[in-house]
Amino acid sequence: MSLEMKYNLKSPGVKRLMREACELAEPTEEYHACPLEDNLFEWHFTVKGPPSTEFEGGYYHGRILLPSQYPMQPPNIILLTPNGRFEVNKKICLSISGHHPESWQPSWSIRTALLALIAFMPIPSSGTIGSLDYTAEERQILARKSVHWECSNCGKIANKLSTVKIPELTQEESNFIKQIALKAEEDVNRKEVSNEELNDNLMDLQDTVQQRSASNGTYTELQTSTVDPKDSELLNQNGIWNAVVGILISAIVLLILRRVFFL
C-alpha cells in the first residue's frame, strides 16, 4: 500500500513528513534520509563522518523514529553502524544543550537533526549515557570498516550519498545547530527502572531526608508553648519530612500499581 493511501493527508503532522520526504529525496554529499516504504514514521539515514576528525571517511547509518506528535515532539535517532562515539541500537534525542527534551523546537526538522548529529559526533562524550569514548585510533578503524557496512533494509550504505553539495546553512540554522545536544533518552530508561531499584532509591531518599532533617534547623519558628521548644522543633521537622516522604511514596506506589495493572 502506498504511503498516500495509508495516512490521513489532512493531518498537519503527516503533511509535514511528506514534505520533509520531498525535501530530502535527493541524496547529498553529507547526508541522506528517507522513510521506510511501509512506515512514514520510521526513516533510515546515512551521514558522512565530518572531515578532519577521526570519523573522516566513515559512513554512518541509522534509524529515525518520529513520535506520533511530530513535529511537536523531537525525533529519536538510533545509530546502527559501529562508530565509537554513540552506542548502537540506543535511542538518542535532541535538545538544547543543558535543557530538557522539551526544548526541542517544532521549526527544527529531520535535516536539522542530521546536521546536529554530524556536528555533535566529534564533541567529547564526557561520559553521558549512550556515549562511548573510544580512542581516535579505534574510531578511525571503525570509520574505515564502515565503508563495507550494509543495512539489511537499505543495502550498502557507502552508496547512499551523492556528490551534491548541501545548501548553505542560514545564520539561524548554524546558531541552533551549535546549541543542540544529543542525549540518550534518559526518561525512557528511568521508566524502565525495576520496582526493586525504585524501592532502593526510595530508601536512600528517605535516609537522606531524615539525615537532613536531623542536621539542619531551618524550622526554628515552629514552636509551641506547651512543649519543650527543642523537642517540638524536632517533632515538627520530622512531621514535615515524613509528610513529604509519604506523599512521594504514595505517588510512586500509584505509578507502580498503574504499571502493573494497566500495561
Binding site: P71, I96, E102, P106, S107, S109, R190, T208, A251
Partner: protein
C-alpha cells in the same frame, strides 16, 4: 508565571541526589501530563457562575467570582499544557474577528504577509512555510463560512483537533519570537538574567509547552496588532479582581482570566 502544573516541579530541587530528584520529577511530569490531557484543548462556553462551584469551600474566591460575574457572563477553559496563553489568545481573537468581516479581512491580509518577515529573520524557510500554510488554511476555512455561528463552530472544531490546534500555537509562537527579535533593543531590558533576546526566544518562546509571561503577551499582541485585558484572580486581599491591559492603554479585543499558572478566555457581559 505560567501553568501551575509545571512550576510545582521545582520544589524538590534541593534533594541532594540528583538522580532521585529527576526520577521523581519525571514521574510527576507524567502524572501532570495525564491530568492535563483529560481537559479539552479549548472547552465549551460555560456560565461564569459555574466557577463558584469550583470554590464551594472557599469564600475568598467565591466573593471574587461574584465580582467577576458583574463584568463577564461566560468563560471558556483551555488545556493547562503550557500553551494555554497562545491557544486561548489566538482562538479568542479569531473568534472575535469572525463577528467583524472587514476586520477579519484586514487581519487575513496581514497574516498572508507575515511569513516573509520570519524568513528574513533567518528562520528555516521550509518549516516556517509548513506552519504558515496551516495557519492560513485555518483562517481561510473559517473566513469562507458565511454564517458567523457556523464559522465559530468550525473554529472550535479545528482548535480541538490536536494537529491544527498545535500548528496554530507554533505559528503564533514564531510570530511572537519574530516580534521580539525585530524589536530586540526595546525588549532586551525586560529579559531577566544574561540572556540575549535570541537565546530567550529559542529557550522560552519557540519551544512548545513553555509558559507565557508578560513579555510573551506584549510581543504576541504587537505581532497581531491588538491588545489583551488580563484579569488576575488569586488569594490576594480585597474582594475585587485586578485587571491589566497589555499593552498598557490599549482597547482590548480579548479578555483572559489568569489564575496562578493558567489562562482561560472570558466573555464580557
Amino acid at each position: 508565571m505560567g501553568d501551575e502544573a509545571k512550576n510545582s516541579s521545582t520544589t524538590t530541587e534541593d534533594v541532594p541526589q540528583l538522580n532521585q530528584d529527576e526520577l521523581i520529577m519525571a514521574q510527576q511530569r507524567q502524572i501532570e501530563k495525564e491530568i492535563s490531557e483529560s481537559i479539552p484543548l479549548v472547552g465549551e462556553l460555560e456560565s461564569i457562575l459555574l466557577l463558584e462551584h469550583e470554590y464551594s469551600n472557599d469564600t475568598v474566591y467565591q466573593e471574587k467570582v461574584r465580582n467577576l460575574s458583574l463584568k463577564y457572563s461566560s468563560i471558556r477553559r483551555t488545556r493547562p499544557d503550557g500553551n494555554c496563553f497562545f491557544r486561548a489568545f489566538s482562538f479568542a481573537y479569531i473568534e472575535r474577528l469572525l463577528d467583524k468581516k472587514e476586520e477579519f479581512k484586514a487581519f487575513y491580509q496581514k497574516a498572508e504577509k507575515s511569513k516573509d518577515v520570519l524568513v528574513e529573520l533567518g528562520f528555516q524557510q521550509f518549516t516556517v512555510e509548513d506552519f504558515y500554510d496551516t495557519y492560513l488554511d485555518v483562517l481561510k476555512r473559517v473566513g469562507d463560512i458565511e454564517n458567523t455561528e457556523e464559522a465559530k463552530a468550525e473554529l472550535y472544531t479545528l482548535f480541538n483537533d490536536q494537529g491544527y490546534s498545535d500548528y496554530m500555537v507554533v505559528y503564533l509562537r514564531l510570530l511572537t519570537s519574530g516580534q521580539l527579535q525585530k524589536e530586540k533593543d526595546f525588549y532586551s531590558c525586560f529579559i531577566e538574567g544574561h540572556r540575549t533576546v535570541e537565546d530567550f526566544c529559542h529557550q522560552e518562546v519557540e519551544p512548545m509547552y513553555k509558559e507565557s509571561d508578560h513579555i510573551h503577551i506584549i510581543a504576541a499582541c504587537a505581532a497581531l496588532g491588538t491588545g489583551v485585558r488580563v484579569i488576575y484572580m488569586d488569594r490576594g486581599t480585597g474582594k475585587a479582581v485586578t485587571e491589566h491591559d497589555l499593552p498598557e492603554g490599549c482597547i482590548p479585543s480579548v479578555h483572559l482570566l489568569y489564575r496562578p499558572g493558567h489562562y482561560d478566555i472570558l466573555y464580557p457581559v
